[in-house]
Amino acid sequence: MSDAGLDVLYELRKRRKRHRLGDIEWFDAAYRVYLVALFGGGTVLWISSSIKDETVGADTLANVATNGPALIGIVTALAFMAALRSGAQGGPLALEAADVTYVMLSPVDRVRALLRPVSQRARSAAALAAVSGAIIGQLVGRRMPGTPVAWAASGAAFGITTALLWAGTALVAHAIRLPLWIATTVGLAGVVWQCAALAWHIPGPANLAGSLAMWGWRQHPIDLLAPLVAVIVLIAGVALLQRTSLDALARRSSLVAQLRFAVTMQDLRTVILLRRQLNQEHTRGRPWLRVPRWVTHPIPRRGVASVARFPTSRLVRMTAFAAMAGVFQAMVIRGTTPALIGTAFMLFLLGLEVMEPLSQEVDQPDRTDSLPIERGELLVRHLVAPAVALLPFAVIAGISAVATLGTTRAITPTAILALPTVLAGAAGGVVSIVRDAPDPTKTGAQAFVPPEMAGVTSALRIGLPIFVSALAAATILLVRQAERAGSSATGAAIRGAIGAVLLAAAVGYWVRRRDEWKRKFRQFMSDGQSYTKQQRSTL
């Protein structure tokens, strides 16, 4: 029966593949491939050509030889931790809901029925990692002994090894129903161990995998143990497929499908919500604190109630974002200007996390429109509670920056600049949330942007919020400039803080007036179209 059932399953899969292939617009697909190849290949070539071709010095070579395997191994250790957590949360497979209902509940051999989804998952992860590894490898190969081709091959081998280890580990963690806290603890221990290997030159758990990435330069046969272990773990994962939890598959199936769609549509809010659901991150049943009586206005009260129910995992994540933002700002002060991008991303993500009351309001447009208060005013009032909640995270960011800089001279400028920077940086998140909200001023299928501009609009949609956060982070440059010029860092910090506060206020004003401005703009464009039509008809 099993074989007959499997034959039916394979036949169905073939038939569905034919359906899908029949539905593909081949010209469109070829055009997309062409665009990706053109821009992707062009970018890689541009970066490659911008790297000098001179081989690095002997000191650097010695440094790479000593620290390279442990440093690269951190990537594998992080992948291992991610895999453990993915498996503990029901990953890495995501079947269609109908496959769970009809195939997994039929008397076919589940292991054999799941082989193809497993192979697809492992293949896609390996392909992505191989391409990434090869690109980075050939870049490294331009400065290191050995040919770029050899480095690309070793980078790809490292990528494939890490990807297979990820897939196998996730399958095993899923099959043994590893609790999430154990997965996180074990994964974290692996990462810490690997970091310790880098710092103190002790053997690290992923040193062999890291060393494999350096085969473009020198080859240690013992490194082959790393891919061997990855394959063994994958085989163990496959052998345990019988223990796959249908509960997890059913839960993940619809979420992953929605997540893919949301990513395609660049719908960041939905991506965040679905990620939380996939991670089974629920708000707390019992709030951390009661809403104080003196908060009387219903909107801030609702905001405080929301923030007071943030789960521990989200608070930990927000703490990490704030701490990382502090580290990046310290790097900027020390001269690494591109670290500003890191700060911008951290503050943007912090903003997305903390603005939950605003996001919830935006998620319920029908209810919002039924309230006897103008939408802009309502949304602005929703900013109050999250802004207050950002205070401790500003302190964390400040402590982290001062600790990284390691000087007490940094305390005063940091104390002045931390809160305004965090607030203005989080305003990038506000821009993203409010821009993605359904537009009540839109009355029909009006589009004043031509389709050719859709790509630019899309890039702006993603880029603008990050740009706002980057502007906030850039206030640190005033302090750095003052330090270099020997003038008062405190004065520069005050100027920067004023700038950041003005930026946050500008975003608040935009939220308040946005609907009105859009309405006026639409009216203006509509009047213009009517006038043009009238002129044409009289000619």
Binding site: M1, S2, A4, G5, V8, L9, L12, R15, R16, H19, R20, E96, A97, A98, V100, T101, Y102, V103, L105, S106, P107, V108, D109, R110, R177, S245, L246, D247, A250
Partner: protein
């Protein structure tokens, strides 16, 4: 012979108990209604029996086999309250797939009869994901009955069904029961309860009644605690 047996079956979500330790035997050929208020644990119990949900503790057996095992899957047909379908297969292709997965060789005539009885014969070449709620439920019913089973687990089967649909479903239940199949039906349709031989009532995850529907006031059983 016991068709569905649970032993200290327990399910908790975090700290919240969804089903308290439940030991239960449903004999072969029985027609059982499972009632209870929203959140009483009906769907949790059914899903654990279908092998879709892992118990926190205890065990479920279908016949002599552990729930979710290959043999148990052969014996059990599960009709969910939220039907799922492939987005690229017609209803007819769904029927073919499910029937053949379960080794039904002469499936066409059975599928045609089922579609006729639930009133979907004109929609057989349509994609069921495009159907209305009621039609989706009818499509799911035809898929649950196109394959052989010894035990049918049904969760809220009447939701969204029109009167002819309800009658067709009741007839299908009756026929399955007459040929010796065991039926466990979770429902809020209290008028249906009169037609079963055994009534189980859950309240807040605990079994509060197990007996004949004639010996109790069902309306009291479905009130939340």
């Amino acid at each position: 012979m016991t068709e569905l047996g649970t032993r200290q079956l327990t399910k908790t979500y975090g700290d919240r108990p969804a089903l308290e330790p439940l030991t239960l035997n449903v004999e072969s050929g029985a027609k059982v209604a499972l009632v209870g208020h929203n959140g009483s644990g009906k769907t949790t119990l059914m899903k654990m029996a279908a092998g879709l949900l892992d118990p926190t503790d205890g065990s479920v057996k279908i016949g002599r086999h552990a729930a979710g095992s290959q043999e148990a899957r052969r014996l059990l047909s599960w009709l969910s309250d939220t039907p799922t379908f492939y987005e690229d297969l017609s209803l007819w292709e769904h029927l073919e797939f499910v029937a053949r997965l379960h080794g039904v060789a002469e499936w066409e005539s059975r599928a045609e009869t089922l579609l006729e009885r639930v009133g979907l014969e004109q929609r057989r070449d349509d994609i069921p994901t495009t159907f209305s709620r009621g039609l989706r439920q009818k499509a799911a019913i035809s898929l649950a009955f196109v394959r052989p089973f010894q035990l049918l687990l049904v969760d809220e089967p009447f939701v969204g069904l029109d009167e002819p649909g309800k009658q067709a479903l009741l007839m299908l239940f009756e026929e399955a029961s007459q040929r010796g199949a065991t039926l466990v039906i979770a429902t809020h349709e209290l008028s249906f309860v009169k037609q079963v031989s055994r009534l189980l009532a859950l309240r807040d995850g605990g079994l509060i009644y197990d007996g004949s529907p004639a010996d109790t006031d069902v309306h009291n059983l479905v009130l939340p605690g």
